[in-house]
Symmetry: C2
Subunit: 192 residues, 2 copies
Amino acid sequence: MKLLEERIKKDGKVLNGDVLKVDSFINHQLDVPFLCALGKEFKRLYEGTPVTKILTVEASGIAIACLTAQYFGVPVVFAKKSKSSNIGDDLYSAEVKSYTHGNVNRILISKDFLKVEDKILIIDDFLASGNALRGLIELCDQAGAAVQGCGVVIEKAYQNGGALIRQRCRVEALARISSMDERGVCFVESGS
Amino acid sequence: MKLLEERIKKDGKVLNGDVLKVDSFINHQLDVPFLCALGKEFKRLYEGTPVTKILTVEASGIAIACLTAQYFGVPVVFAKKSKSSNIGDDLYSAEVKSYTHGNVNRILISKDFLKVEDKILIIDDFLASGNALRGLIELCDQAGAAVQGCGVVIEKAYQNGGALIRQRCRVEALARISSMDERGVCFVESGS
């Protein structure tokens, strides 16, 4: 998606060779009108695919998931990373290694909100190693819900997560990074 | 707001006398079209008030903040509860005691995204003790940004947080609970 690639080139910052900082518009400050445009693009890409619910994981997936969900007219469920006092005990859970935080989280979702009849679109901000998406797919498998596909804003296409997840389901990435370093970011050419 | 009071009566669950579980539509599963209606109501209430940015705190504030921000046409910034590897070091921070999790968090925001010229509307899901709002106001004070007001979905009006925060700034709550127990929830009458 040209609009997103240009924005990443303009406002993204590459740290330590492999961390892409997009916190001025995607995951700390949120450019809401811009994220709405990304949400409409997910809707265009998945037009005709039945979706009953969008699934994401806290915290940075929530914004793009909600702003996308309004174009599908469906609810969002976000998996939680800690057990708060009011989530209840009847849960699905999966382990996810966090690339950014360098630790392992258990992600949790109440069984009330993921059902065998659900048709799930998974939305997240980043796809790199694929650990978060794999964890979310595992939650869907535990519930017997159908995974219709994944939509991610940015894919680090030089890591193997995308290839692994695509063996399982459709994945749409709005920007696919082929390489990056302190001098800048290069994208996989569209259509390739 | 009648629509919200009815939804709380229908789908909210009171646990242990003082925990209101609204996780089927507000903070685990998110009823996005419904939250959009709440966002429009915040816009109506703050019509004419200059707002350059909406501030909230992860994770449960992000959805309502983003869906509200689209009607204001402004970005959201969410304060983070942990220092991820890519947030940077130039931060404002404040301590917040979490009512739900029973611990103390330090909330953090990059100085890049809160400026002296900003006019801030703070949005969150709950107001009870007022600790989260107080922490967010403290971040604004550190930056010298103007707090134009707060908008919360649900206020536990029988706790003292609302009174404390209203000494400092305008607070709009879409539903104000006067009392609740396992038999149900009562609301402060509109206009009172």
